[in-house]
Symmetry: C2
Subunit: 244 residues, 2 copies
């Protein structure tokens, strides 16, 4: 169930431990539990399904710096912006270089047999994927920045899922060039750092029970959209005239 | 007069030279022509007026990274974002450092006798200044990023104005510690680089007469708000109970 805030105005704040536990509890709804990722890890996906996945999740990857810039634009505090901006640079890469998370994702696509121009054209992106990701960007544009930060706490669950995925991809899909998996390897370093910072900010800034619950709801919303994205990828293109 | 687009749908695009000339023509409306800056340059401002100016224009300075992050968030092109992000870093400073344009502005305030806590509290910021600057941030949030970029072309006019201002401040206001003027000195290097990039983007992306005129209108809007900001600063606080 999506977490719904219920605190009345007089509810006592959670202790720090209770708040962290409520956030971590959302991990049971993380998309590594989705049937598509379960099948990926079991080696049951076809090449075509992996290609559909990589081309569609590109839309999420390419939207990450846009949502992080929205958070930056909503945050009036220089100290927070100085930290948060590194996420944009991590994904976009530095000026004049061909690097960064988006570039790594394009290379992953190539290693799965989808050329970068096809991916970048976004013509394989399914409407359901687009709507899920756009909902996330709009959330980060419209919500106070603290709750947008809290929504990023899926990073708490990412590394565990990625470790399993990396082993599974190498074991079950030997046709994938291991060099193409660099995106996931770099996330194993970056995600814990990012998660810790976002957790510290959430704990420091959400002091009332209402704000704490709103932070949990933001994270719950985030797990929902990752799940919905994967539902759409799993289902594939069912539109009249779709090629498959 | 504020520039108003009038091109009908069949109007031929301006040549590159004509477009640049139309943009540069907005320089005659730049706020270095405002009576307040004219008086500043003539050595006629009181200490109190300079203090009012520095405390109020802080609100503009502190909003610049927010508007630049809005542009970033509206721009789907990695290559552009990789360039534009340097503006945010220039103003916010790098992580763990006490530097950047906002910090330099606070030091300018100190050299004019306004302590940084007073400036950062924003309690001296006049409503008219706030509305002008907020109009700019909202413009950059809502307009397509190309026109928000064009609105930044006041940087074309900045260095000339700053050169005159630096000389005038040092000559007419010897009580100002010259170290406090670092903000303006650094703009002499950064502004031409930023202006050239924004000009290149504007020329490359505005190819129809309608888009060219919209870019000129964006710049005209920007000169309007800088002017309105200075009107409010010049007038001062006229509210009942204001201290002067």
């Amino acid at each position: 169930m999506t977490f719904t805030p219920t605190a009345d105005i007089d509810a006592a704040p959670w202790t720090e431990d209770e708040f962290v536990a409520a956030l971590r509890a959302q991990g049971t709804r993380y998309h590594d539990q989705h049937p598509f990722h379960v099948r990926m890890n079991a080696g049951e996906l076809s090449r075509e399904e992996l290609q559909r996945w990589v081309a569609n999740r590109y839309y999420y990857q390419r939207s990450i710096p846009i949502k992080d810039a929205a958070i930056l634009s909503n945050c009036p505090e220089v100290e927070i912006r100085r930290e948060w901006i590194s996420r944009i640079i991590d994904h976009d890469g530095a000026e004049g270089e061909s690097s960064g998370g988006i570039e790594s994702w394009l290379r992953l696509g190539e290693s799965l047999g989808v050329d970068r121009e096809t991916i970048r054209s976004e013509r394989l992106v399914l409407p359901g994927v687009r709507y899920s990701v756009d909902a996330y960007v709009n959330f980060c544009r419209q919500e106070p920045w603290v709750f947008a930060v809290a929504s990023s706490l899926t990073e708490l669950f990412g590394p565990g899922a990625i470790k399993v995925r990396l082993v599974a991809l190498e074991e079950h899909y030997p046709w994938i060039d291991p060099a193409g998996l660099e995106y996931f390897r770099s996330r194993l370093t970056l995600a814990p750092r990012d998660a810790q910072y976002a957790l510290d900010v959430s704990l420091e800034r959400c002091r009332t029970r209402a704000d704490q619950e709103r932070a949990v709801a933001a994270l719950s919303f985030k797990t929902d959209l990752l799940w919905a994205q994967l539902d759409a990828i799993d289902r594939g293109d069912t539109r009249p005239g779709a090629e498959g």
